[in-house]
């Protein structure tokens, strides 16, 4: 086991302050990450990422080959090809664009290609809606990708860089989706701190390095890359005698992810002074809370603000922002929530015919406890519906009431919809 090098802190003066929107923040992160291939197709609200990046390419500021593909399906396909050839690859999309590349997502994960994908969360058609919700990200939750969700543009910049490191970790080798809320983050101006280029380069260990595996017919360990020196065949046909075993590889790889996400979060903290909870979950006032709200994405800011306000009034409330949704941190959630009376689970998406996906995960996390918190699912914000503080406060008060009565009147509630 390699000794962890202590990482010198980059002083704030060396971290350039710029005013950008979330999409631009991602574009700058990609610019500094020694990305070889960016293959992308425009869709609101992701467009600014690729537009900004195109400027870098046109000005010769990056060595990246930009492939302006003719559809999102081809975007992810080109990334798969590029990554198999040993390149560091990136793409971005949203909503129906993501839905169009759905089959390739599974292929990227099962071929163990550490592609990074910025998902600018947007609602799925129909009706066509360009605004924020998490249905697009939820739709890919089974695909084998790592899913990280950010709360603000600073985190979007930080996490995009981290995503390359996490995905390329030899124990992981999985693609990573970095989710940022459409319009709320993508199009809103924020001040963020950017690191110097060389610092990012060093953090990522330079260009992408392939991993090795032993292949019998070559008689040795070789780089897992399309390499004319050591011919390999990617993407074979599996019959029923091998497919299951190959899926076990992915299942095992997922188990290694939380530790890597946490470690990279710690390393980032040493480097920049910024961390996001423990990398997996970001909590506020959960330790002695009676009521906890879980939330994903930018709405966490509002929830934290409301929770602080209620704490000042004497209510014992807290919140958990889920940063890593896949793999889902079951044990940590269970440990944090086991003594809580009521948990409100906010979902900016729903699985029609069932509950919100976060709710189902948290339900599963708590199931084995002999004494469990009560759970209420708050589906909110679909299609970009705003979730103002007063709605969140109303939800908290309902949960506090539920804590008092000990009875969950309605398990699935909808916040902010007109009857």
């Amino acid at each position: 086991m390699a000794e962890a090098k202590s990482i010198p802190r980059i002083p704030l003066e060396k971290q350039t302050l710029i005013a950008v929107n979330g999409d631009e923040a991602v574009a700058y992160a990609v610019k500094q990450s020694l990305v070889d291939v960016v293959a992308a197709y425009p869709i609101t609200p992701q467009t600014i990422i690729v537009e900004k990046f195109s400027e870098f390419v046109a000005n010769g500021e990056v060595h990246t080959e930009f492939v302006p593909v003719e559809s999102e399906h081809s975007a992810m396909s080109a990334c798969v090809g590029a990554a198999a050839a040993g390149a560091r690859a990136f793409t971005a999309s949203a909503a129906n664009g993501l839905a169009l590349m759905w089959e390739i997502l599974y292929i990227a994960a099962s071929l163990r290609l550490p592609i990074v994908f910025a998902v600018v969360n947007r609602a799925l058609s129909a009706p066509i809606n360009i605004h924020c919700d998490h249905s697009d990200a939820y739709g890919m939750r089974d695909s084998g990708w790592i899913q990280l969700f950010v709360e603000n543009s600073q985190e979007a910049y930080d996490t995009t860089i981290q995503a390359f490191k996490i995905g390329e970790d030899p124990k992981v080798q999985l693609p990573v989706a970095v989710n940022l809320d459409g319009f709320f983050l993508s199009h809103t101006l924020e001040n963020i701190r950017m690191l110097p280029d060389e610092v990012v380069h060093e953090f990522l260990g330079g260009y992408r390095k392939p991993v090795k595996t032993f292949v019998d017919y070559l008689g040795k360990e070789v780089d897992v890359v399309l390499d004319p020196a050591n011919p390999l065949s990617f993407g074979p046909l599996d019959l029923y005698d091998y497919y299951f075993e190959h899926k076990m590889h992915q299942i095992e790889a997922m188990k290694n992810v939380p530790e890597v996400v946490r470690r990279v979060n710690e390393e980032w903290y040493e480097l920049t002074g910024r961390k996001y909870g423990d990398g997996v979950l970001d909590t506020y006032a959960v330790e002695d809370a009676d009521v906890v709200m879980t939330v994903i994405g930018s709405t966490a800011g509002t929830v934290r603000h409301v929770a602080k306000k209620l704490r000042n009034k004497g209510y014992k409330v807290g919140m958990i922002r889920i940063r890593m949704f896949r793999p889902f941190p079951f044990n940590e959630i269970r440990d944090l929530l086991k003594d809580v009376k009521v948990v409100g689970v906010m979902d900016r998406g729903i699985s029609f015919g069932s509950y919100g996906p976060s709710f189902m995960e948290i339900n599963t996390a708590l199931y084995d406890l002999s004494e469990r918190p009560m759970l209420v699912n708050y589906v909110y914000g679909l299609g970009g519906r705003d979730a103002p503080p007063k709605d969140i406060e109303k939800a908290y008060m309902e949960l506090l009431e539920t804590a008092k009565t000990g009875v969950v009147k309605e398990r699935l509630k909808f916040l902010g919809v007109r009857e």
């Binding site: 099962s110 071929l111 163990r112 080798q173 991993v211 595996t213 032993f214 292949v215 019998d216 017919y217 897992v224 390999l232 065949s233 990617f234 993407g235 074979p236 599996d238 005698d241 091998y242 299951f244 075993e245 190959h246 076990m248 590889h249 095992e252």
Partner: protein
């Protein structure tokens, strides 16, 4: 011919195939076997070129059929410009 299928703990990364198809002898698909009459063969190499299974080899002197892989399609016999190859039922062929 097939060994016990491996468990997931010992399979290569990323579902990469780890054996060459050379180990899979398609010769047992054959119902007809090509027999070369070397008196007639003019070594034009057409049979070698047109074999879809790379089952005809040139050793510098002669072409010969590699019975490990020959599927008996008969393309070589059909294409031979001097009709030096005959397709004979496997059951009748020697060896």
């Amino acid at each position: 011919m097939a060994s016990e299928p491996r468990g997931w703990k010992v399979l290569p990364f990323a579902a990469l195939p780890y054996k060459l198809s050379l180990e899979y002898k398609t010769g047992d698909w054959r119902a007809l076997r090509p027999i070369i009459d070397y008196n007639k063969c003019v070594k034009c190499m057409i049979c070698w070129l047109y074999c879809p299974d790379m089952a005809i080899l040139w050793d510098g002197e002669n072409v010969r059929i590699n019975l490990d892989y020959c599927k008996g399609c008969g393309i070589c016999a059909h294409e031979c410009p001097v009709k030096a190859i005959k397709m004979v039922p496997e059951t009748e062929a020697e060896g």
